[in-house]
């Protein structure tokens, strides 16, 4: 933590849900189940209407893509303060489990019943990696996500040598570009407003395109004194 910076509240689960809504990821339904051995601990349908916890997982719509987490004989264990990657910071539970970098035996294996969804989740990871590259280009970054009918959400990033020293929400009172610019050697304010698509794969493709464009280095003026 840098002692000179003001306090940026950490990203909460409510923020992650808001981020997923702005990215258009909350519009698609899927069933998430969690088991220890054969016992169901959890069965929840996530979708545009929010989360619906099921008492009887067998009664769920069989057409829904299913994310299944299987703990070994007892609940999986993980290190208490292991650093999260950017996808885990930004995406809500249980989507962020897909981006675990730890081995399956440490966090419980996660499988997806729908191959196309699984592929799109992989692409979503690549899209967020592109965002990470873009955010690492300056010491201070603000990412502002907007979409129609929703409150915008702003995130603050302080990055030194490709490591995020501070990553938190930017409170309204601190959203002063000039003051933020003075906090570091370089500064950028990224605004994202992805379009909405009707399929999960379409939505992820849109995000990937937007974020990969963002991560491309700005075109420098041609070094060739005599271009053809």
């Amino acid at each position: 933590m840098s002692w000179d910076l003001p306090h940026f509240p950490p990203v909460t689960e409510a923020d992650r849900l808001a981020i997923a809504e702005h990215l258009g990821l909350q519009s698609f339904s899927f069933l998430y189940t969690e088991k220890v051995g054969k016992e169901f601990l959890r069965a929840v349908v996530y979708g545009p209407g929010g989360a619906e916890a099921l008492l009887n997982p067998d009664a769920a719509d069989s057409h829904l893509p299913r994310l299944e987490r299987q703990h070994p004989g007892s609940l999986a264990e993980r290190a208490p303060f292991a650093a999260d990657n950017l996808a885990q910071v930004l995406l809500p539970f249980p989507l962020r489990l897909w981006f675990e970098t730890r081995p399956a035996e440490a966090s419980g294996s996660l499988t997806c019943s729908d191959p196309q969804w699984a592929r799109s989740l992989g692409e979503l990871g690549q899209a967020i990696q592109a965002l990470e590259t873009a955010l690492q280009r300056t010491e201070i970054s603000v990412l502002e996500l907007t979409s129609e009918g929703r409150e915008p959400i702003r995130l603050f990033f302080h990055c030194v040598r490709k490591r995020f020293l501070v990553l938190g929400r930017l409170p309204e009172a601190l959203a002063d570009k000039e003051a933020l610019r003075r906090l570091g050697a370089s500064f950028q304010w990224i605004q994202l407003s992805p379009a909405a698509f009707s399929t999960f794969s379409g939505q992820v493709l849109e995000l990937r395109q937007v974020l990969e464009t963002l991560s491309q280095p700005a075109k420098a003026a041609s070094a060739d004194p005599l271009p053809l």
Binding site: W3, V36, G50, N56
Partner: protein, 429 residues
Amino acid sequence: MPESSPRSTEFQYWEEPSAQWASRLSALKAQGTDEVHCFIPWGLHESVRGIRDFSKTSKLRLERFLSQAHAAGITVRVTVGFPPRRESLPDWALPLGEISALVPAGIWKWGAQDLALTRIPSLHDDPFFLEFLEFVSDTFALLSLYRFPEGPLVGVHVDWGVYKADQGASLAGSYGNFLQERYPQASLINIRYGATFRDYATATSAQGMRVLLEKRPWLAAYDYKHCRARLLQDRGEALLNLPTAGPLTDLLAFEMPQVRAEKASWAIAVDPTLLESGAESMYPFTPLGFAHAQAGAAFRLWEHLRAKATRGGAKLHLLPTQGDCPAERVTVVAGRFLELQSARLLRAWAEAGARVCFPLGLPQYDENLAGIDWKASSPKPALRGDGLTRRWAMGMGEFVFPESPGAPENDFWDKLRRFDGEPHLGATP
């Protein structure tokens, strides 16, 4: 101590630039805040083992912060302990001790729902606890100089935090002593559980815990939580016995005062015995990571109710709640077992005029496996039934429960919402 209830807010001095403390506190006072609550993080004040920093780093100048709060006319209530924050534990303390606490991973991230467990040093392991005790001793010595009215300090809250959801408490050496409080002879455990343990050691081993959970899951959860609460009480006594705790004795509290909610028309009271609570989320009861089908069912039921209640504007209460009846109609979500204290509370609520509904049927047994005598304290209840629901007049209120309750299904919320004794809605068809 100030008498009227002050307007309070959270102010973590170590999260704010120290140069701004005075202006922030003055601004809070101008907005009508009389009291601030702050956490004194061991992990930051003793980031290097044995060097307790209360004055070197600008953001950790606790005395300066207390003086500035006093100058601004604001009282301060502090918390020491282990709220679910990274700053609660110093890095160097993580490998200490031989036994571990097992804490739901989601606890560390507010509102997160990860059911995996995280391993941290156990509070019941002396090398770790003694280090914490030394930090608390120094902190208390400093705080005692700032008591109200000479200073701003009006309360010291000891929060065991993440350790209240410890799933590894049975690993503590003294766990068996507290089990012995419940069962003075090991043979009594065998009678209650239908088990064949030779002694307490086998009953409290990992394999023993699994057997207890398999035999009687609700009772195993009750016994485990009883022993865990007694272990924490024991640690609390060690803290109170610190020489520096003396001047603060009247300010020390282990529980924060509950905010009394306004009485609603409907409330849902849930038996949490097979659940664990921590940092705004609930988790299934999974001692040493073992998950029993009943704990899974209780957890799925909780998640079902929480999602629906949030949308439906109803409030969920965990039994036994403190204080008066929260609503005119209380729907109780409990199985065949219920803690005696909760049973007494529900009966008192009904006698005071509430309609207490049990859509899953009347609980039958308490923690001693004795039958709950629902009718004992009131005149013989008037029984009215229509073949589907039964209604017992209890004092000024009544108990309502189905004639033949069924297992909850995916439409449980709808049934529960309508279950108020209307004949056509009471029972599972």
